[in-house]
C-alpha cells in the first residue's frame, strides 16, 4: 500500500500500450469496419436494384403472356370460324351434289320410263294386233294395217 516507483512503471507501461494500440491496433480494425460498412451498403443497394429489375422483368413477362394469350384466343376464334365456314361449304356442296345426282337419276328414270312406255306401246300394239287377228280369225295384212296400228299405238 505504499506509493513507490511502481507508479512510474505503470505509467510507462500504460503509455506504451496506448502507443501500440494507436499505431497497430485501432487503425486497421477501424479501416476494416468502415470497409465492411461500405461493402454492406453497396450490397444492399445492389440487392435493391436487383429487386427492382426483377419486378420490371416480371411485369414484362406478364405483358408478354397476356399478349400471347390474346393472340392464341384470336387464332382459335379464326380457326373456329374457318371450320364453320368449311362445314357450311361442304354442306352446300353436298346439297348441290345431292340435287345434281337426284336430277340425273330423275332424268334417267324418265328416260327409262319413256323407253319402257315406248316398248310397251309396241308390245301392246303387237298384242292388240295378235288379239285382234285372233278375234277376227284371219290374218290381217300387217303391212296394210301398220299405219292404222301406229295410229292406235300413238293414241294409247
Amino acid at each position: 500500500m505504499n506509493i513507490n516507483a511502481t507508479l512510474i512503471g505503470q505509467a510507462i507501461a500504460f503509455l506504451l500500450f496506448i502507443g501500440f494500440c494507436m499505431k497497430y491496433v485501432w487503425p486497421p480494425i477501424m479501416q476494416a469496419l468502415d470497409e465492411r460498412k461500405k461493402k454492406i451498403a453497396d450490397g444492399l443497394a445492389a440487392a435493391e436494384r436487383g429487386r427492382h429489375e426483377q419486378e420490371l422483368a416480371e411485369k414484362r413477362a406478364q405483358q408478354v403472356i397476356h399478349e400471347a394469350k390474346e393472340q392464341a384466343n384470336e387464332i382459335v376464334a379464326q380457326a373456329t370460324k374457318r371450320g364453320n365456314q368449311i362445314v357450311d361449304e361442304s354442306k352446300d356442296n353436298a346439297r348441290v351434289e345431292g340435287e345434281r345426282i337426284l336430277t340425273a337419276a330423275k332424268a334417267e328414270i324418265d328416260q327409262e320410263a319413256n323407253r319402257a312406255r315406248d316398248e310397251l306401246k309396241l308390245q301392246v300394239g303387237s298384242i292388240a294386233l295378235a288379239g285382234a287377228s285372233k278375234i277376227v280369225g284371219r290374218e290381217i295384212d300387217e303391212k296394210a294395217h301398220t299405219d292404222l296400228l301406229d295410229e292406235l299405238v300413238s293414241q294409247i
Binding site: 506509493i3 511502481t6 507501461a13
Partner: protein, 289 residues
C-alpha cells in the same frame, strides 16, 4: 485459510501486501518480508506483482487485438474478429457520443483503458488464495523463502500505484491538450477568470485548481477504492471457511453471490474510468469553456 497457525488479521495483512522489491535500509537489495520493510524501502521500490500482472495482461490484450488487426478485412468476420469488433464498436460509439473534437488518440486510449482495467479487475475473480499460495510455493521451493513472507497481490487495480499511474497519464494528457488547444494563456485564463469576475482571480484559481487536481485523484481513487473494497470482502468471506462447516458453506454461498455482483462492478469501473477520461479530454479540447 492461508496456513494453519496464522490469525485472521495476519491472513488479511498477508493478502493486502504487495510483493515489493527494493533497497533495504541497510543497503542490500531484495524483496520486502513484511509491510514495515516494504515501507522502509521508500519511493524507489517496485511492486513486482502489480507491474508483472498488469504488464502481462496488457501484453495479452495487445497480442489479442494485434492478432485481430492483422487479419482484419472487410469480408466475413471470424468469431474472434467479431468479438474484438464488438468491443471496438462499443468503444467507438462511446467516444463519438462524448468526445466532440477530432483527435486520433482518444479512441485507442479509451480502448486501452477499458480493456486493460477490465482485465486487471477481472483478476479479482480468481480464487483468492490460489495465486498467493502458488507464489508462496514457488518462492519457498525455488528461492528458499519463507512462504509466509512471499506476498502476491494478483489484482493490480487494488494497488493505488497502478491506478494513480494511469490517472496521472490521463491528467498529463488533459493538461497537454488544454495548453495545445487553448494556448498557455487560454488555459490559465480558464483557470483564473472563472467562475467569478477577473479581480477575484485568486479565488477562481483556487476553485479551478481544486477542480483540476480532483480529476486524477477521483479517477484513480474511485477505481482503487472499489476494487480494494471488493477484494477485502472476498478476503473476509474467505476467513469464514476456517470457521466450521456451517459458516464455511454460508461463506461459499456469499462468495458466489459477491462474485456475480462483482462482475458488474468490474465492468462498471472499467467503463467509468474510460468514460471520465473521454469527458476530461473532451473538456480539454473545448475552446469555450
Amino acid at each position: 485459510m492461508a496456513s494453519e497457525q496464522i490469525t485472521s488479521s495476519e491472513y488479511i495483512k498477508h493478502h493486502l501486501q504487495n510483493l515489493t522489491y527494493g533497497q533495504h535500509p541497510d543497503g542490500t537489495w531484495g524483496f520486502a518480508h513484511n509491510a514495515q520493510e516494504a515501507s522502509d524501502m521508500g519511493f524507489w521500490a517496485i511492486n513486482v506483482d502489480t507491474i508483472g500482472v498488469s504488464v502481462l495482461l496488457g501484453v495479452l490484450m495487445m497480442w489479442f487485438f494485434r492478432g485481430v488487426a492483422k487479419k482484419a478485412n472487410a469480408g466475413i468476420p471470424t468469431a474472434t474478429q467479431n468479438f474484438a469488433e464488438w468491443i471496438i464498436e462499443f468503444i467507438d460509439t462511446s467516444v463519438r457520443g462524448s468526445f466532440s473534437g477530432r483527435n486520433p488518440l482518444v479512441a485507442p486510449l479509451a480502448l486501452t483503458i477499458f480493456v486493460w482495467i477490465f482485465l486487471m479487475n477481472l483478476m479479482d475473480l480468481i480464487a483468492i488464495d490460489l495465486v498467493p499460495q502458488l507464489a508462496g510455493f514457488v518462492g519457498s521451493t525455488a528461492f528458499g523463502a519463507d512462504p509466509h513472507h512471499v506476498f502476491f497481490k494478483v489484482v493490480p487495480s487494488t494497488d493505488p500505484n497502478a491506478t494513480f499511474g494511469m490517472a496521472f497519464v490521463v491528467f498529463a494528457m488533459v493538461i497537454y491538450y488544454s495548453i495545445k488547444v487553448k494556448g498557455l494563456g487560454g488555459f490559465f485564463g480558464e483557470l483564473a477568470f472563472h467562475p467569478f469576475p477577473k479581480w477575484m482571480f485568486p479565488i477562481n484559481l483556487f476553485l479551478e485548481g481544486v477542480t483540476l487536481i480532483s480529476k486524477p485523484i477521483s479517477l484513480s481513487l474511485r477505481l482503487f477504492g472499489n476494487m480494494y473494497a471488493g477484494e477485502m470482502i472476498f478476503i473476509l468471506i474467505a476467513i469464514m471457511y476456517g470457521a466450521g462447516l456451517l459458516l464455511g458453506s454460508f461463506g461459499g454461498v456469499l462468495q458466489i453471490g459477491w462474485a456475480i455482483f462483482h462482475i458488474l462492478i468490474i465492468t462498471l469501473q472499467a467503463f467509468i474510468f474510460m468514460t471520465l477520461t473521454i469527458v476530461y479530454l473532451d473538456m480539454a479540447h473545448q475552446e469555450n469553456h
